[in-house]
């Protein structure tokens, strides 16, 4: 994945140099179903155009322009506003949409309470749509709109959304979220809302009863999602919106209460900005590793070496339309792994050097093939993954300490034996000579 991205990023950066709002390009295909009036979404589309996107419109059934031609994605982003369309042209299938994601094309898909091919595609993204024909219903707060048009409070802590306090009008289907960690909930249903096929109050009890008995399950409460993002492996993003009208002019202009504008316009732009990889896009520019006080990377380190690992991380700035060094990650971690992490340490930003994160640690006392792994997965942010393989080897044959104080008994033994041998040989040789001489002397005397 890393290598793929390493190839893709520069290409895309080049392609987008002109006036790319998004980090991945500015060509947007909007698949708009004929039943929807284009002018009803003019605020949303104009907002995109203003920010530099080139929009191409196409009906679900028209043959051109194709989304994928010769295995290359034609557009950088695809918006599918066809919540009720059941049949598409040949080139748009659930499979081809997933393939688009693999080609780093982003998807913004609107659903509706109706059952369409896209509803079943949502299943692949671990979204669980309610039974067909059960829109989100909420009777609170009291208002003059129908129960299916629900004002939803925007979460304040979500990094995807700008900090507006105005609630968002929503009309459409909610969905339950599966346990896929790649899901990024953007907008959740209000706590008092539920999915039901009737707006009657009496019906809601029946729904609750049915859910208790374990029928269709309880499609109610704040665990349901309305707008949910999905961070695909490789960087592409997909966003599922429960109702297309969130983006409509009608909801954008509709007032929440007297004199208070709804947040739809801002919300729609925020969602599009995230989906089109404008905001919260990170990348690892490069990683380096070397021994402390050295600069050149080694192919293999020795056990117990002190190693410094540095990573340079950039964040895409959608306003300035360029990548900028980013030191804002406080919880980045580095792992030094061989099957399991032997070392897991904070990779903290270096003061005074924007975008540089560094950690110094002692290599484990174990030889093997290790990997420096950065695996940063946070909801909303691009997932950062980097893995560099190095070997950690035992010291060379001459790399061990030479004279050990613990070995003195052996040194003493060796030295004393050597000296003893020398002494003994000298004595033996010398003594022999004298004996011989004495013998000779005796012999002489005898004679």
């Amino acid at each position: 994945m890393v290598s793929l991205r390493a190839v893709l990023w520069p290409l895309l950066a080049l392609a987008g140099l002109a006036s790319a709002k998004s980090s991945s390009g500015d060509n947007v295909l909007v698949i708009l179903e004929p039943a929807l009036d284009k002018s009803n979404f003019s605020i949303f589309f104009d907002g995109l155009k203003e920010r530099g996107y080139k929009l191409t419109f196409r009906a679900p059934k028209s043959v051109t322009p194709q989304v994928i031609q010769d295995e290359v994605a034609t557009f950088n982003h695809v918006v599918i506003f066809a919540p009720e369309t059941k049949a598409y042209a040949q080139d748009i299938t659930p499979q081809s949409l997933v393939q688009l994601l693999s080609l780093n094309t982003n998807l913004l898909i609107a659903l509706s309470p109706k059952q369409t091919p896209l509803t079943s595609l949502a299943l692949e993204f671990s979204l669980i749509p309610p039974p067909p024909g059960t829109p989100l219903v909420s009777h609170f707060p009291e208002r003059d709109t129908p129960a299916t048009i629900v004002p939803v409070r925007v979460p304040s802590s979500n990094p995807i959304l700008s900090t507006t306090k105005a609630p968002v009008w929503f009309s459409g289907a909610s969905h339950a979220l599966g346990n896929n960690p790649r899901l990024v909930p953007i907008l959740r249903a209000p706590a008092e809302s539920f999915a039901a096929d009737s707006t009657d109050d009496s019906g809601s009890i029946a729904v609750a009863d049915a859910a208790e008995k374990g029928g269709e399950g309880l499609w109610a409460g704040s665990q349901m999602g309305l707008v949910t993002g999905f961070q695909v492996v490789g960087g592409a993003r997909a966003t599922w919106v429960g109702g297309v009208s969130v983006f409509s002019d009608e909801f954008a202009k509709k007032e929440i209460s007297k004199g208070k504008k709804s947040g739809n316009q801002q919300f729609a732009q925020d969602v599009a900005a995230w989906t089109f990889q404008e905001s919260l896009v990170l990348r690892i520019d490069r990683t380096e590793h070397h021994r402390v006080n050295e600069t050149e990377p080694l192919e293999q380190y020795t056990t117990n070496d002190m190693i410094t690992f540095t990573a340079r991380i950039s964040k895409y700035d959608g306003v300035k339309e360029r990548w900028e060094s980013y030191s804002g990650l406080k919880d980045l971690q580095l792992e030094f792994t061989m099957l399991d992490p032997f070392i897991r340490t904070a990779l903290s930003p270096v003061a005074g050097k924007p975008g540089i994160y560094s950690a110094t640690f002692r290599a484990p006392d174990r030889h093997g093939v290790f990997k420096f792994v950065i695996d940063y997965k946070r909801k909303g942010f691009t997932q950062l993954h980097s893995s560099t393989t190095v070997s950690v080897v035992p010291p060379r044959h001459d790399g061990y300490p030479r004279f050990l104080s613990a070995a003195w008994p052996y040194y003493a033994g060796a030295i004393s034996t050597s000296i003893g041998f020398l002494l003994f040989s000298t004595l033996w040789l010398a003594g022999d000579v004298r004996e011989m001489l004495m013998k000779k002397g005796k012999g002489l005397k005898r004679e």
């Binding site: 081809s96 079943s120 346990n179 665990q223 492996v233």
Partner: protein, 791 residues
């Protein structure tokens, strides 16, 4: 004295000696030539290629040594072996073989002979077999005489039991180890005979070479002490033994500790304790002898009693204590498996799984030794009859090696030299007896001789002595006839023993010659047919009888080499680890250096589990490709399905809850792969990879596994987690229904390679993703229940 045939008597003894030694030299040269030539079948029938499995590692290591020099080799850390554990090669091998080839390679290059390192490696074993023949000659010469030595050299030169490990291309430690073994033994015998510290030191140096070359050095480490101990127990302690053994042990042990892989083992492990113990015992005895020479016998006996008892108690306490404290490692499992053949199967399946660790079958004794098998006991008996110090060695060697050869097929190799030696002793005694022209005196002569028997004894010895040097076995004949003469003088009334006439002699000699000829034919046949296959390249015969080469292994390994990134990790069963590293140059999880049982068990578990269980294991180990050997199409019986039960057993040893051997059998207890195969079998990764799309090959006909002779089901296994990493082909949708292929299958389907699929784009499990890719509808699910109803 009558003679069976005339012998020229006008030759000077010097001429005879010179001619004899010239003939010996020529004979030894011819024997070396035969030894080398018969090992070249492998090169002629196939090509100059490294054989089998372990040699591939040795070859790879030698290349590193030749390219980077000795110090880099010593410090070589191989990150591609045992990924991701790596292997400290310098510290975990016996570098003698690589060092030898490295020296030869550098020497040849210094002489401006630009020989490829591969050819040095391929031809090393035949070259050393010539040296082995010479070493055996020297050894046997010490046992009997030169003629026995020449016979032994000829035997060891062509005997299949040794050729099986030393054909050209069989670049393994044994290639040089047998030479070192024989030469060390020769030096030891020489040291013992002469009480020579010099030969003891030479023995120690070659022992060091042996330690550096082969793990089997422990055989020498225990044989020589055993011999010394036997001599002591036989009351044959002498200062010759003391000097020979002490110089060998002290220098040899210190030298052997310089080999990094051996390190402190000689003083720490039980296998080496025998040598140390005998060394200590010799010192005590030598000291006792010294004391005895200074004390009266009564005092000495008392002292001896006290000393023996106390030292015995102290010594055994010390050994027990040290073992208990962990200072001395207890016997290893590999050692136990030598005593209890069932031990390995029960406790160390990884050892039992190697085919060369199986007990030897009777036919293979005949296959490997033929005629020598029958001469061997006779030779041992002849050794008993003389029982000099060196004969004790051969007897002990014969007994020990026979036992070990019966336990493990591969230890046939250590038996072979002693069989050659004692068979040569037997045969040369036979030939001596029948070629010797001296005839026993006829009955008339006897009566004449009887009267002056006592006085003629010296004369008869002298007369035979004059005739004897004309034959090559002069010395022997001399002693024999001397003994005969003395016997005749003592028991003159009994009929004279001996060989009369030329016809008996000719019959026996011709018979012996015929047997030897058959032996040569047998050796040649066995060598060319059974032991010359490189096993990397297989051969079969076309209908017209011509040879057809099956080169699937290299085809697949080169595919890996050419088509995968250099860092792509390949998982296979450990048998193929060295070959993948050597030929494909890719990292492997496990290889033939089976040092980490758990890692091998991990691979075994991945192979024997279902895809869902195996996939996380594969991902954790960064596996990119999985390689299996499948012989079902061609009938190649050494394939992975046949080895599969060992994988299961080894995995079961580590994960007894998850993998159970009985699950892989049918309820009837059969090992089947057809439609009656057990569920665990059919779901295992190994089964799926082997038979994936196998049935399609038969185009609707009945698919048959030709190794196991079982009919395969029409609907083969499906794979979700392995295949190739092609993302779904683009529209039109109809293309999507074609299942993903394996990455590579060789011509005869012997090697099949699968790529491990990457994580799914959407974080789904790959089975679901595949189903989606093939356009299958997915079942709707419900939101997770968060509240449980109160009952």
């Amino acid at each position: 004295m009558p003679a069976a045939y005339p012998i020229p008597s006008d030759l000077s003894p010097a001429t005879v000696t010179n001619t004899a030694s010239l003939i010996r030299i020529v004979a030894l040269g011819l024997i070396s030539g035969a030894a080398i030539a018969s090992r070249l079948f492998a090169v002629i029938n196939f090509e100059s290629i490294i054989h089998e499995f372990d040699p591939w590692f040795n070859y790879r290591a030698t290349r590193v040594l030749a390219a980077k020099g000795f110090y880099e080799f010593w410090n070589w850390f191989d990150p591609t072996a045992w990924y991701p554990l790596g292997r400290v090669v310098g510290g975990t091998i016996y570098p003698g073989l690589m060092a030898t080839s490295g020296v030869i390679y550098n020497a040849l290059h210094a002489l401006n002979l630009p020989v490829d390192i591969r050819n040095v490696c391929v031809l090393l074993a035949p070259g050393f077999s010539a040296l082995t023949a010479w070493a055996t000659y020297m050894f046997t010469k010490e046992m009997k005489d030169e003629s026995a030595g020449l016979l032994a050299a000829a035997f060891i030169g062509i005997v299949p039991g040794y050729i099986s490990r030393s054909v050209a291309g069989s670049y393994d430690n044994e290639a040089i180890a047998i030479f070192l073994l024989m030469f060390t033994f020769y030096c030891w015998i020489k040291a013992l005979k002469q009480g020579s510290a010099f030969f003891g030191t030479v023995a120690a140096i070659f022992y060091f070479y042996m330690v550096a070359a082969w793990g089997g050095y422990a055989f020498i480490t225990n044989m020589i002490p055993l011999h010394a101990l036997a001599l002591i127990l036989m009351g044959r302690f002498s200062s010759r033994l003391y000097v020979g053994y002490s110089s060998w042990y002290a220098i040899g042990t210190l030298a052997s500790m310089q080999v990094p892989f051996v390190g402190f083992q000689p003083v720490k492990t039980s296998e080496h304790m025998g040598a140390l113990g005998v060394f200590g015992l010799l010192q005590i005895i030598a000291f006792a002898q010294l004391v005895r020479s200074h004390l009266s016998s009564k005092q000495f006996q008392n002292l001896l009693l006290v000393a023996v008892i106390s030292s015995g108690i102290l010594g055994s306490l010390a050994i027990v204590g040290l073992t208990y404290k962990g200072w001395i490692a207890p016997w290893t499992g590999r050692f136990y498996s030598l005593w209890d053949t069932g031990y390995a199967k029960k406790y160390i399946p990884i050892i039992a799984s190697v085919s060369e660790h199986q007990p030897t079958a009777w036919p293979s004794f005949f296959m490997d030794l033929q005629l020598l098998m029958f001469l061997f006991p006779a030779g041992v008996v002849l050794c008993f009859m003389q029982l000099r110090d060196e004969h004790v060695f051969v007897i002990i060697y014969a007994a020990v090696a026979s036992y070990f050869a019966g336990v493990m097929v591969r230890l046939m190799l250590t038996l072979t030299p002693v069989v050659c030696v004692s068979a040569a002793v037997a045969l040369s005694t036979l030939l001596d007896t029948y070629i010797d022209p001296t005839e026993p005196p006829s009955s008339e002569d006897e009566q004449v001789l009887e009267k002056d028997a006592a006085s003629s004894e010296a004369g008869s010895v002298a007369s035979t002595a004059s005739a004897a040097p004309t034959t090559k076995k002069g010395k022997k004949a001399q002693t024999n006839s001397g003994a005969d003469a003395s016997a005749s003088s003592k028991k003159a009334s009994k009929p004279q023993k001996g060989v009369f006439g030329l016809d008996t002699r000719l019959t026996v000699i011709m018979n012996a010659f015929g047997m030897l000829s058959f032996f040569v034919l047998h050796c040649t046949w066995v060598t060319s047919n059974a032991y010359s296959s490189p096993s990397v390249v297989l051969a079969s015969n076309n209908p017209d009888g011509s040879q057809h080469i099956i080169d699937d292994f290299r085809e697949a390994y080169y595919w890996l080499r050419q088509n995968t990134p250099e860092t792509a990790v390949v998982m296979s069963w450990w048998d193929y680890g060295y070959q993948i590293a050597g030929m494909a140059d890719r990292p492997t999880l496990v290889d033939n250096n089976t040092w980490n049982n758990t890692h091998i068990a991990t691979v075994g578990k991945a192979m024997s589990s279902s895809e869902e269980v195996a996939y996380p294991i594969l991902r954790k180990h960064d596996v990119d490709y999985v390689l299996v050997i499948f012989g079902g199409l061609l009938g190649y019986s050494g394939d992975d399905i046949n080895k599969f039960l060992w994988m299961v057993r080894i995995a079961q040893g580590v994960w007894p809850e998850e993998i159970q051997e009985p699950d892989y059998f049918t309820p009837q207890g059969e090992y089947r792969v057809d439609d009656q195969a057990s569920k665990a079998m059919r779901n295992s990764l190994m089964y799926k990879m082997s038979y994936y799309r196998f049935a399609e090959l038969f185009g609707g006909g009945q698919a048959t596994d030709r190794v196991r002779n079982q009919a395969m089901p029409k609907q083969g296994p499906t794979l979700d987690y392995l295949g190739t990493n092609i993302w779904l082909p683009p529209i039109p949708l109809t293309v999507l229904t074609i299942p993903a292929d394996e990455a590579f299958t060789s011509e005869n389907w012997i090697v099949r390679i699968y790529e491990v699929k990457k994580e799914d784009l959407l974080g789904r499990d790959l089975k679901t993703a595949n189903a989606f890719g093939q356009g299958k509808k997915r079942k709707r699910s419900k939101p997770a229940v968060r509240r449980r109803p109160i009952v």
